[in-house]
Assembly symmetry: C2
Homo-oligomer: 412 residues x 2
Amino acid sequence: MKGLVHETEGWIRSVRSQKEVLFLHVNDGSSLESLQVVADSSFDSRELAFGSSVEVQGQLVKSPSKKQNVELKAEKIEVVGSCDAKAFPFKYKERHPLEYLRQYPHLRCRTNVLGSVLRVRSEATAAIHSFFKPSSKIKVPEKNFFNIPVFLTVSGQLHLEVMSGAFTQVFTFGPTFRAENSQSRRHLAEFYMVEAEISFLESLQDLMQVMESLFKTTAMTVLSNCPKDVELCHKFLAPGQKDRLEHMLKNNFLIISYTEAVEILKQASQNFTFTPEWGADLHTEHEKYLVKHCGDIPVFVINYPLVLKPFYMRDNEDGPQHTVAAVDLLVPGVGELFGGSLREERYHLLEQRLARLGLTEAYQWYLDLRRFGSVPHGGFGMGFERYLQCILGIDNIKDVIPFPRFTHSCLL
Amino acid sequence: MKGLVHETEGWIRSVRSQKEVLFLHVNDGSSLESLQVVADSSFDSRELAFGSSVEVQGQLVKSPSKKQNVELKAEKIEVVGSCDAKAFPFKYKERHPLEYLRQYPHLRCRTNVLGSVLRVRSEATAAIHSFFKPSSKIKVPEKNFFNIPVFLTVSGQLHLEVMSGAFTQVFTFGPTFRAENSQSRRHLAEFYMVEAEISFLESLQDLMQVMESLFKTTAMTVLSNCPKDVELCHKFLAPGQKDRLEHMLKNNFLIISYTEAVEILKQASQNFTFTPEWGADLHTEHEKYLVKHCGDIPVFVINYPLVLKPFYMRDNEDGPQHTVAAVDLLVPGVGELFGGSLREERYHLLEQRLARLGLTEAYQWYLDLRRFGSVPHGGFGMGFERYLQCILGIDNIKDVIPFPRFTHSCLL
C-alpha cells in the first residue's frame, strides 16, 4: 500500500530500536498521542535522542500495530535542535513527581502530564466562552440563556454591575491578583476568574441554576473534547477521580442555608479547630465536613449573616439572625469554588449601609446605578484554577496554571 | 391577528405619545435596535420616562410600521427602577460628544454609541478566539492553521515561547500593563493584547501571512455579525471609514524593508520634526507618512536595525547595516498595530548577545530553551484597542475600552 506523503514536526518523546528498525515517537503538543515514526538503520540513532526537535518527511501508512492507526515511514529526518540529554532535567521513561516538575516552569510543559493539564485548561477556557456566548444570532428580542457581549475586562464585580446595567447579562474571564500571604494548595497570588452578572434576576435559585449549569456544561465539554488528557490525570494523579466526577455530574447539587450548615456542624461528632457558631465564618475544615456530610456532591450554602459579607449583597430583611442573599458553592476536594449573591438594588438600603461604613463618598458612582433605572440583579465568580483542580483531581493549584505566582515565588 | 405572549425587560430609550397611544423603545443591550412597545392611554406616561428600567408583558404582533418587523402590544408595564431625569447626565434625544460621555464611565454604556462600540469589542474578542482555535477535531496529525491550546495566561512573549516549545502554536489574549507617561490618543496604562507564537516557522513571510489573516478574518466576522453597530460608528463618528476599511480589506498588505522606509522618508517633500536616518526609530509622523505614501493600505515594515530591537530578535547576519528579522504593521489612522519577529533560536548567537548586555544570568532559563530541542520560531503581538480604533475609525483609544486607565486617571 502506497502511503500519503506527509511531513511532521515536533519533539522526540521516545526512541526504541528493534532489529534493523528505529521507532520514534514525535509529539507536537496538539494531543497526548505522539506520531510513530519508523526509520531504517541508515539513520543515526545517536542524533535522534529524547527531547530533540525534528522534522520528518515520509509516507503516512496504516500501522501494523494496534496501538495506532497510522505511522510515518521516514524518508528524511532532520534534527532541528538537539537536546543536551545530560543536562536535560527530565529523564527518558522516568515519571517525575509534580513537585519536581514545578522547579522547571520553562520546561515542564514538555512532559505528558503538564501537556494534558494545559490542554484541558485550554479546552475548559473555550467551553466557558461558549457557555456564555453561544454563536446563534438573535433576530427578535427573546429570552436567551446568555445572549451577551463578552467583556474581557478588568476583573471586578462592581464593574460588571456597571455593564449589566446596559447589557443585561455580562461576563468576564481574566487574571485576578490577590496579595494573600498563603502557602496553601488552593491559593495563588495570580489566578484566573470567571465572573458573570445578570440583570432582572430576582432569586438565588435562578443564580444557582446558572452556576450549576456552567460547572456541568464545561465539564461535559472537556470530557468529550479531550478524553485522553482527562484520563491521564485521573489515572496517574487522582485514582478514583473519574467516579467522583461522574457522581458530581449526574446528581443535582444540594442547597442548604448557612443556618442549617451551622446546625450540621454543631451536631458533628468531629472536633473542629474553630468551633462552629452562628455569625462566624466557615473554615476549610467546616467546608470539607459539609461536603462529605452531603455525600460528596457539590453543595450551595445560602443566606449568610449580613455582618460577614460585603455591603453590596442584598439584605434579606429577616431577623433576629440578619442575613443577606449570598451563595457559596462548596465542592469535594477543593472547598469554596464559587461565590455569589443578589446585589442590593434598593437605593435607600444601599445608602444606609454605605453611610454606616463611611463609604458614601467613595461609592457615589455605585449609588448612582440605583438612581437611574435600577434593576434587581445578581452575579457570581468562579476560581478557574480551583475548577480545574476539582474536575481533574489535582491536589496542588500550582500544577494547573502555566506559570504559578505565589508568596515569595515568581520563578518566571 | 393574535400575537405571541411575550415578556421583555430593559431600559426605556425613548417615549413618544401620539393621540391615544404611547410608543416606548425598550433596549436590553443585546443589539442596537430597541423593541417598540405600544401602550394605550391607560398607562401613566409620567412614570415611563427615559432611562427607567421596565418589565413589559404583552402580545408580540407584526408592526404596521416599516421601521420594525414586530412590536409589543403592552398589557402590563412595570417600572422596575425609575430614573431621576434631572440628575441623569444624558438627555433624551441629545447626542453627547464622546469626551462628555467619558466623564461617566459608570453610565456611558447606556448610550447607543458606547453600546455599539462594546458589542463590536465583544464580537472581535470572540472572532479572535475562533481564529486561533477552530472547533474541528484532529484525528490524524496534519497541518492545521492553528490547532492549538488557548492560553489566557500572563501576557509576555518570552512566556509564550516557553509554551510554543511544547505546543507548537500558542496564543494569549489578556490585559497588559504599561507605566507609560503618555496622554496620547493611542496609549493606555492598561490595554489588551493578542499575542501568538509559532514554532517551526522560518520566515517573516509566513508570520506576516498569519498577521494579515488575523486582521482580515476578525474584521470580516465583525462586519458580518454586527453590521448595525459598525454602521453606527462609521456613520456618526468616522464618516468615510466604511470605504477606508473596505480598501484595507480588499487589498494585499504591502511589505517594505526598514531601509526602504528610511529612503522613502528621506525623499519626502514633507519636513519632519525628527529627521529620518538609518538607525533611528520611526516616529508617529514617519509612520503616518509611510502609510499615506503606500496608498492608505496597511504596510509591513521589516528588518530593523539590530541596535533598535530587543535581544531575542533573530540576527539577519547581514552588514554593514546590521539588521534583525523584526516586523511592524503600520495601519491608517493608528500607526503601529502589530509588532513581531523571528526569535533567535541559535544558542551561541543568543548567548553572545545576552553576554554583551550582561543578562546571561537572568536569562539562563531562556537560554535553556535553546539547549533542549530548540526550533526556529516567531511571533507577534497586536494591540486590541488599536485594532478596534482602526476598524471603527474611533479617534481616541479611551472610547473603545469599558474602563480606560491612563496616566493620572483611574476614575473607576
